[in-house]
């Protein structure tokens, strides 16, 4: 059954399958690939990549293979690399959450330069509560899936940090499936890597699910950081909130944000809002932002989106400088302030501090003191 390509009526283009060969060859002209520089994917997109390495992983988990029964519970791949990673990964990680876990559960992934496929399953049992952190660093080429099974009335926060070296390529499909009255918060932080393409998706298995998707990205010269979100409202009375912010500075710095929200005919009482803001810190930087809201029922509680991309506001800089604050410090304040709206919603204090430090580092690394 799983090999049969399936598609939805509303989105015929969203083909899903666990068989990589079920997907037509990627040309780069498809809507979902048109922003991605395929030549930088090192063959992950067409099956020509030689993938025989692993990421080293630190943390508390159970090792699983592709035939583990939970694999495929929340994620059905929507593109070829994702399907191939799910079929071919050698070692995946299963984190099982039971009860309320006070301290964040951290998995540290470190790339040594090899190419690898990976897979992570977080099985958050009903009524459990936890913060799970996936911390990526090092180099290499990596494609993988992350499945978040959020049980009835469970409360799961997933933090995915992409703090890769400059040469890393990372494709990841991060799919959450929310049970009845489940709460899910996704925090995606992408600062590192040559090319990062993350696809967080949310589906609801029962009523009353509440998903909050937060994202921060900072692209320097030559970095391509792409986040493609899809929230699929198919059951009544669920809620979703998306807030993504990205800054880009330097030659060929490029951020992409796609925010697809589908409210199906049966999803009455849906409440959704998505917001994307992009800040261009230099003339050569580029940001693409495509919000897309499809509504198939009139019986909703609320639905909206907002997207804006702006250049650095010289008047803000002038105002701060006119109070004696030096130009580089003033710039830091403005950029930190820009991200603050997202940072303050994260709710993991250690991460918030780390982010402020990372933002400062990004600004100083690429001549933010201009």
């Amino acid at each position: 059954m799983a090999e049969q390509p399936t598609s939805t009526d509303a989105r015929p283009e969203r083909l899903t399958s666990r068989d990589p060969d079920a997907f037509p060859a990627i040309t780069g002209r498809e809507e979902e690939w048109r922003f991605t520089p395929l030549y930088r994917l090192r063959g992950l997109h067409d099956g020509t990549a030689t993938v025989d390495g692993t990421l080293s992983v630190d943390g508390d988990f159970e090792t699983i293979g592709p035939d583990h029964p939970l694999v495929g519970t929340a994620l059905t791949p929507a593109d070829r690399p994702s399907a191939q990673a799910m079929r071919d990964f050698k070692e995946g990680q299963l984190v099982t959450v039971e009860g309320e876990v006070a301290e964040p559960i951290v998995l540290r992934f470190k790339g040594s330069g090899e190419a690898s496929y990976g897979h992570v399953v977080v099985d958050a049992k009903p009524f459990s509560k936890a913060v799970v952190v996936l911390d990526h660093s090092g180099g290499g080429t990596h494609a993988g899936g992350v499945e978040l099974i959020v049980g009835d009335s469970a409360d799961l926060t997933l933090v995915s940090v992409q703090d890769w070296d400059d040469d890393a390529v990372h494709l990841s499909a991060q799919a959450a499936r929310l049970g009845r009255d489940a709460r899910f918060k996704s925090v995606v932080v992408t600062f590192g890597g040559d090319l990062v393409r993350l696809a967080p998706t949310v589906t609801y298995a029962g009523q009353g699910g509440d998903a909050q998707l937060l994202g921060l990205a900072f692209a320097d010269a030559k970095q391509h950081l792409e986040h493609r979100l899809f929230v699929d409202h198919a059951v009544p009375n669920c809620r979703s909130r998306v807030t993504y912010k990205a800054a880009a500075q330097g030659t060929e710095a490029h951020t992409v944000w796609i925010g697809d929200v589908l409210i199906r005919a049966g999803a009455s009482g849906t409440d959704t809002y998505e917001l994307n803001r992009n800040l261009l810190l230099s003339d050569e930087a580029r940001a693409d932002s495509v919000p897309n809201l499809e509504i198939e029922t009139g019986e909703i509680a609320g639905a909206g989106h907002a997207s804006a991309t702006g250049r650095f506001d010289d008047n803000q800089l002038f105002y701060l400088q006119s109070r004696g604050i030096a130009a580089d410090e003033a710039r830091r304040m403005v950029v930190r302030g820009f991200f603050h709206e997202v940072v303050r919603q994260i709710g993991v204090p250690a991460l918030e501090e780390r982010l402020d430090a990372a933002i400062d580092r990004e600004l100083s690394a690429t001549g933010g003191a201009k």
């Binding site: 506001d313 105002y319 400088q321 006119s322 109070r323 302030g337 603050h340």
Partner: protein, 249 residues
């Protein structure tokens, strides 16, 4: 004793000349009012002195105790003791008032005030301007009413204690009560005798609260008449007609 000297200042915006030879000297303890009709270049003078990049100085000099102000960056001017209370203060999303004020005080004073003293100092300054303490947790100028923006500007004036304060249309958009509170703040700074004040205004009403030592009438990008506060009274009675009739404004 501080002296700001402006000599034959010419300024253009997008190659269009706006200021055409401004001469003005301001010393500590003095209050100068610059009055002029809309479009006369008053705000251009204010922003040029603060160093806004939109304004190009084409000739002339500005010195602060002999130091060349025009060669300083915007933040260097502030640290040298210049302050501009803006007519349209800028929103800075995500930056709280308290963070902003402490960062500015640290920059201008050259060292960070100890947290304990700072909290007290900021609280006292806000109280004297009838500002709710919760104001400190809001983002700079974001969602502020006109009156809140002006109070916030004068709060900075009181905390940063500049040697030269330029107040650009501080009275605009204020009701009578707010005008009184803001004026009292300015007067507290003036009464120290350590700040020279340049008050830029279209209307005479703020001069009822802040009494100037000198009044300058500004028309067509320069000062066309100077006098004491009786000149302001004449403007109140007769308007700018006597000065604008022959001038290209």
């Amino acid at each position: 004793m501080t002296t700001l000297e402006i000599r034959d200042l010419h300024v253009s915006v997008d190659e269009k000349p706006i200021l055409s030879g401004v001469d003005l000297t301001i010393r500590s303890g003095e209050t100068h009012a610059i009055m002029g009709p809309n479009g006369s270049g008053k705000s251009t003078l204010a922003y040029s002195l603060a160093g806004h990049p939109k304004y190009t100085v084409t000739s002339g000099t500005v010195t602060l105790d002999g130091e060349d102000v025009l060669s300083m960056s915007v933040d260097e001017r502030a640290r040298a003791g210049m302050f501009l209370a803006m007519q349209y203060p800028v929103e800075v999303p995500g930056v709280t008032v308290s963070n902003f004020l402490r960062t500015a005080a640290t920059a201008v004073r050259g060292e960070a005030p100890t947290l304990r003293h700072w909290v007290k100092e900021q609280k006292a300054a806000m109280a004297s301007l009838d500002m709710d303490p919760a104001f400190a947790t809001r983002n700079v100028n974001e969602g502020f009413s006109g009156g809140e923006k002006k109070r916030h500007e004068i709060l900075q004036l009181e905390l940063l204690k500049p040697r030269i304060a330029i107040l650009d249309e501080t009275d605009s958009g204020l009701d009578v009560d707010a005008l009184r509170v803001v004026s009292e703040g300015v007067n507290r700074v003036r009464s120290t005798g350590e700040t020279g004040t340049l008050l830029i205004t279209h209307y005479t009403r703020i001069l009822r609260y802040i009494e100037p030592d000198f009044v300058h009438v500004f028309v067509g990008g320069k000062i066309v008449e100077e006098g004491g506060k009786e000149l302001a009274d004449e403007l109140e009675a007769n308007g700018y007609a006597r000065f604008t009739s022959g001038a290209a404004v």
